[in-house]
Symmetry: C2
Subunit: 186 residues, 2 copies
């Protein structure tokens, strides 16, 4: 049975409140409606689009300091950080990030943004990547802005921190990775 519009909008509001970085695509999948319906719902509920939601979080400012590496060694600009919980960074795809032949962003730059964010979010003097599974879900082109969103998922059986990173261009997911991080206080 499909939800009524009222129920859907109520649940939608709650979902976005608890997971503000969820994309319209993911919401459409979750609620089993079209992306257009989600957009209409957001408009009626005055919920800004993902890009605006990210910006508003970033504008609140963040007081925490990256511990595992000097902040200038993070690839991309960190706009949000809560150590051992979550972090967000922005990377603008420029000429030096793309294949010269087709202006498609090279995988290792998206990886570098995500991986260095996974290091930065760890609340420890030493954080090294042990293992990772990644997926490039759509190609990224010259001039696009990639927003990476890292979330610490807790520890595995070896005491390593698991960090999940999702990277987006506007509302589209372009990269996803899970990083198993070794840290010195294990």
């Amino acid at each position: 049975m499909k939800r009524s519009k009222k129920t859907r909008q109520q649940e939608l509001q709650e979902t976005i409140q608890t997971t503000p970085f969820i994309t319209d695509e993911e919401l459409a999948r979750q609620f089993d409606v079209s992306i257009q319906t989600i957009r209409l719902d957001r408009t009626e509920l005055s919920i800004p689009e993902l890009r605006e939601r990210i910006k508003s979080v970033a504008e609140l400012g963040w007081q925490e300091t990256v511990k595992a590496l000097p902040i200038e060694e993070v690839i991309g600009e960190v706009v949000d950080l809560e150590l051992d919980r979550r972090a967000i960074s922005i990377l603008d795809i420029k000429q030096e990030h793309v294949f010269s032949r087709n202006n498609i962003a090279r995988g290792h730059h998206l990886f570098a943004q995500a991986n260095s964010l996974a290091v930065a979010v760890i609340n420890d003097e030493l954080a090294l990547t042990a293992r990772s599974r990644i997926e490039f879900t759509r190609q990224v082109n010259l001039g696009e802005r990639v927003i990476a969103h890292a979330e610490v998922q807790g520890e595995d059986e070896k005491g390593r921190s698991i960090v999940l990173v999702h990277s987006f261009v506007e509302d589209e997911e372009v990269f996803t990775g899970s990083f198993e991080m070794f840290r010195s206080n294990q």
Copy 2:
């Protein structure tokens, strides 16, 4: 039952002939003897160490041309290439590749070497990484030389090429990755 020394040395010689880039560690595991025994066997059989074996292959020269990207866009120096089969590259770890704090090589540079080699080995005008699983098996330090060895494993059920990359510092494996490559002639 353990093999006799004669049998072991015979089998060792055959193994190295068919898989010249196998490390002493792997051989020791395979033959269930110590690394010292493998080294002694190699000396008695006049089989050079891995580094020398790689160099001798590289010196034979390679006539094939990288197709999927301009060769200067490969991270590391390609020293061997047989399209759609195998490739080898060398990356010397310099100051720009390490964390300033501890001189440990940053993961994304090892990833970039391996991933760009996985692109380079594909015999196609377009090769993009779809998915990857990687493992950093020991940390790499400033001044070390990383030799990456890519092997095309064939295709998966979606027609994507699977490329396995193993990277070594001397005889020690430091990185391993499998890359699922999308190519234009699928």
